[in-house]
């Protein structure tokens, strides 16, 4: 059964025009499609090819090409194969179709991508803030977002206080008793005096 699906899908998808089909290994397939044919491909993979599990949608910002790349990772429990469906959409309107009707977990992934990259998914149930609930800047995962400049504008940094170190050094540094000193003391102390006395002096020192 599973072998049949794999064979059938290999033949079918390889024959379809406009689908870049690469078998990376026994269990990985890469497909490159145009953005308008991707929903159809996903429908085919889900409905006929047993790829029922959408693991993740990842987004890459190719700022030099002025494009976003979306990668849909699909898993089939029948043929134990991972399909990565790649597509590229232009960066400037940044609007794409949601696949929520095919895969319900896509709602979370699309909401996340909308927050991090500013890409809007039409038909997704909820495009509200997801993780960055207090965010008031541009989408932070875009390549043109300068995190360092943002941080310098938004936050203050601690000044360097050398007097803090001086205070610590006067008290003998961070470590009050070095372990090797304790060991040496104990060795010397065992021959001379009671061990309990030395323990007490050590505790006082700390």
């Amino acid at each position: 059964m599973s072998n049949n699906i794999v064979k059938w899908l290999d033949q079918l998808v390889a024959d379809v025009e406009g689908v870049g089909y690469q078998r990376k290994s026994d269990r990985r397939i890469r497909m490159d499609v145009a953005s308008d044919t991707l929903p159809t491909l996903l429908e085919l993979l889900r409905g006929r090819g047993s790829y029922v599990h959408l693991s993740a949608i990842s987004c890459v910002d190719w700022i030099e090409d002025d494009e976003f790349e979306l990668v849909y990772h699909l898993w089939s429990y029948e043929s134990n194969t991972l399909v990565s469906a790649h597509t590229r959409i232009p960066r400037s309107p940044g609007i794409y179709l949601s696949v929520f009707d095919l895969y319900h977990p896509a709602a979370f992934f699309e909401r996340d991508i909308h927050e991090m990259f500013g890409l809007y998914f039409e038909g997704s149930p909820d495009m509200e803030r997801f993780i960055l609930t207090e965010w008031d800047g541009p989408p932070p995962m875009r390549k043109d977002f300068d995190a360092e400049a943002w941080v310098n504008r938004k936050f203050n940094f601690q000044d360097y206080h050398p007097d803090w170190l001086k205070e610590l050094e006067e008290e003998g540094g961070g470590v009050a008793i070095r372990p090797d000193e304790v060991r040496a003391k104990k060795k010397a102390g065992d021959s001379k005096t009671d061990s309990s006395k030395i323990d007490r002096s050590g505790a006082n020192k700390v």
Partner: protein, 271 residues
């Protein structure tokens, strides 16, 4: 004691009474009062309940510090599960903006005197997240920090050492940063509003607490606390509907629903 004298006393202008005798606690005639104060400070430093707000990787160092290897409890420090009964708030690790909200809510729930210890470099200066857009850099901008334990991450020995220093500070009366939050609440609130927006609200009434502790000074209220009142939403009664019929009689739900709607209509009519 010198500390209580230092606290500014709020006196009403038209009251003809002597402010010191009026409040009663300020005038110390009992020669044993100082002794009791010292005793209270000693006891306070020896029974500390610690709320560890484990935000980041520094939390890894706390289990060995608390359990049998280094045994924090021999110093009188014990973990506590609720903020209302805790004395120390231990912030271990990076503080994202979203987490900072929760830390401030936790801090304001604690009863005074309260102490904040920032563990790891991240609480000092952002640490390795200095470039991150989502991580707050200085914890002491948003709440008064008594002690920083630097390191990435500090070993349990360093944690113990820092807590011992805190104990000494409490015993000598040096650790009084919690008063700063009441005295300069406007500044802290301004920094919080800078991150969370102008409509940031906390459920606890800090200004009221400051008045209660008689710590309200010129820095307690200001432009930022005025914003607090501006964005305050009036309390609304929570409406809840219990439909007992649905759970008891599952067979004929249509009848129950009809009854419920009837009841609701009756109530509305009655009101």
């Amino acid at each position: 004691m010198t500390e209580i004298k230092d606290i500014p006393v709020k006196v009403e202008a038209d009251s003809g009474k002597d402010p010191v005798s009026d409040l009663g606690i300020k005038k110390r005639t009992n020669p044993l009062a100082n002794v009791f104060d010292e005793l209270i400070k000693f006891c306070r430093s020896r029974s500390l309940f610690m709320l560890h707000y484990c935000t980041g990787c520094g939390a890894i160092e706390l289990p060995p510090a608390m359990t049998s290897r280094f045994d924090m409890e021999r110093l009188g420090i014990q973990p506590m599960v609720t903020p209302r009964q805790a004395d120390i708030l231990l912030v271990t690790g990076y503080v994202s903006v979203k987490t900072l909200k929760r830390i401030i809510l936790t801090y304001e729930q604690m009863s005074s005197p309260k102490y904040v210890v920032g563990i790891c470099s991240c609480t000092v200066n952002g640490g390795m997240y200095w470039q991150s857009y989502a991580t707050a850099k200085k914890l002491d901008e948003y709440m008064p920090v008594d002690l920083y334990i630097a390191g990435c991450m500090p070993r349990p020995e360093a944690v113990m050492e820092g807590l011992k220093k805190l104990m000494n500070d409490i015993k000598s009366g040096k650790a009084s940063n919690w008063k700063d939050y009441y005295q300069n609440y406007d500044r802290y609130l301004g920094n919080q509003q800078h991150l969370f927006g102008d409509n940031w609200q906390t459920p606890s009434d800090v200004i009221g607490e400051a008045n209660n502790y008689e710590l309200a000074g010129p820095g307690t209220t200001g432009e930022h606390t005025a914003r607090l009142e501006e964005y305050q939403r009036p309390l609304e009664p929570i409406t809840s509907h219990f439909r007992i019929g649905e759970t008891v009689k599952e067979n004929d739900s249509t009848n129950n629903n009809n009854n419920d709607t009837n009841n609701n209509n009756d109530k509305k009519g009655g009101e």
